[in-house]
């Protein structure tokens, strides 16, 4: 059993869709205070892994634990500890932001009083006051994403799983989202997927590199940097890359081929 500090743990997690193995024996754990970045090319199995931890999909084999509860055997208990932002931040377009958050809070079993207090806090910290009465279908991408985050935070969960929280946001919005994640980090275990490498340096305490469903690295951003192959100063760089990009390309292209 995972100890008190470990909030998320996966063991030999495997998911097959027909003959395709989307997730192949992924094993890691995340403790309180950690922000773990899932890095990997598109279709690497990041979202599938997150969906399994969130309990939306069942693994073909292996298991996932949230706050010590097996996501398959004890799904309701596991989900109580979990806030989940699915890819694309889905929400009901016909609802207003206020109604939607109240709906999620209610479904999460918060009393109306508690829900109001929590939602008021979130409106403040996530800056939703301006769109409070607007229907979600009328919101910009940035606001929609923020509503998705608010929905995941409404019950103040121990574990946050955010699937591409900054995708499609403009640079300012990205910055705000990262600041928010950083602010939340000390009291929670957070898993963030991204394919933006600078994000890993900006917010993550650890990065897990996934490609073809397999875990290729589990390291701090600094350790990841050290994996970058040395540059040959005589070869001119046509496309300028950062050291982290070099490391990422090295890990996902070369190791995956081994």
């Amino acid at each position: 059993m995972p100890n008190g500090l470990t909030l998320v743990e996966t063991r030999a997690l495997t998911k097959k869709f027909g003959s395709v193995t989307a997730v192949d024996g992924i094993e890691f754990s995340v403790g309180r205070g950690e922000v773990v970045g899932f890095l990997g090319p598109n279709g690497a199995g990041k979202s599938t892994t997150m969906k399994i931890i969130a309990g939306f999909l069942e693994p073909t084999s292996g298991s996932a634990f949230v706050a010590g509860h097996d996501s398959r055997k004890d799904p309701i208990a596991a989900r109580r500890h979990l806030g989940y932002l699915p890819e694309g931040a889905p929400a009901y377009p016909d609802m207003t932001v206020a109604d939607f958050l109240a709906f999620v809070a209610g479904m999460r079993g918060l009393s109306p009083k508690e829900a109001n207090r929590r939602i008021a806090e979130l409106v403040e910290s996530i800056d939703l006051a301006e769109v409070w009465d607007r229907r979600i279908e009328a919101l910009s991408k940035g606001y929609k994403r923020r509503v998705g985050i608010a929905q995941a935070l409404v019950h103040d969960p121990d574990v946050l799983i955010l699937d591409e929280p900054t995708d499609g946001l403009d640079p300012n919005q990205k910055h705000e989202m990262r600041a928010l994640i950083r602010a939340l980090a000390p009291s929670k275990a957070i898993i963030v997927s991204t394919h933006i490498l600078e994000e890993v340096e900006a917010i993550c305490t650890r990065a897990i590199v996934i490609a073809h469903g397999r875990m290729l690295a589990d390291a701090t951003p600094a350790q990841l940097l050290a994996m970058a192959p040395p540059r040959d100063p005589n070869v001119p760089q046509l496309v300028r890359t950062t050291p982290l990009e070099d490391a990422f390309r090295h890990i996902t292209l070369e190791q995956a081929g081994v």
């Binding site: 869709f17 969906k51 969130a54 309990g55 939306f56 999909l57 069942e58 309701i76 208990a77 989900r79 109580r80 979990l82 989940y84 699915p86 890819e87 694309g88 889905p90 929400a91 009901y92 377009p93 016909d94 609802m95 709906f103 999620v104 209610g106 479904m107 999460r108 079993g109 929905q151």
Partner: protein
């Protein structure tokens, strides 16, 4: 919570108003023009209720098709299925909202009931029983539609599937369906299929025989379809 949200969702678009207008309009049209409500010179609503299975066959799938298919298309199904709530509660809640909506549609046809009382003295007990029977039958159509809606993210497919499934149930008592089964199946099965007929059960109710068997039939069919709906959602997780 879920019932309230789902019920409100019907009224978020003009769909609800259009649906209610079509339902009441077509119901009244059939009653007066096709069945000759006035020509029959009888103070009852049988000319209204005869058409209900056929109207429901098309209109209830239109109400139920969105229940799960839309969640899948929007991706909100990921939110629902990761909330600390048992899936059957969503299934039941969504169905209940659709059922309430169908009830509302029936309430809007009640001026017919008033009219028939002004023109003569109908057996109001039979009419009340027929209304309840029609509502239950609508519930059965909706449960089937909800179940099929869970299979796809395409609402049009959900609609067509639900109409076909509903058609089989409506026609189960007719030779069209029975003739296809009779040559190879034993009598027990033929009779079992015949006893699934929506029209058969509904007609007994509108004839004034509000027997328990029709009630039990519709309620158990609803329960079974909703149970299957939960199983489909479960199976999708493991897929």
């Amino acid at each position: 919570m879920i019932v309230r949200r789902e019920f409100a969702a019907y009224f978020a678009t003009p769909l609800a108003a259009v649906f209610l207008a079509v339902f009441v309009g077509v119901s009244a049209g059939m009653t007066f023009f096709v069945s000759g409500f006035f020509d029959r010179a009888q103070a009852d609503l049988s000319s209204f209720f005869t058409w209900q299975p056929w109207l429901f066959l098309v209109l209830m799938p239109a109400v139920g098709m969105r229940l799960w298919a839309e969640e899948r298309r929007l991706g909100t199904i990921e939110l629902l299925m990761t909330l600390p709530v048992q899936p059957w509660k969503f299934v039941f809640g969504k169905w209940l909202a659709a059922f309430a909506f169908a009830g509302l549609a029936l309430v809007f046809t009640m001026p017919l009931w008033i009219t028939v009382n002004m023109l003569g003295s109908p057996d109001n007990g039979v009419i009340l029983a027929s209304y309840l029977g029609a509502w239950l039958m609508a519930g059965a159509f909706l449960a089937i539609a909800s179940c099929i809606s869970a299979l796809t993210k395409n609402q049009v497919l959900a609609f067509i599937g639900a109409v076909i499934a509903g058609f089989l149930f409506v026609m189960a008592g007719f030779d069209l369906v029975l003739a296809a089964v009779r040559p190879w199946a034993p009598d027990v099965i033929v009779q079992a299929i015949a006893s699934m007929s929506f029209i058969g059960h509904f007609q007994r109710i509108t004839d004034g025989v509000f027997e328990a068997s029709a009630l039990v039939f519709f309620i158990s069919l609803i329960a079974f379809a909703l149970w299957l709906n939960v199983q489909i959602l479960d199976a999708r997780k493991a897929a």
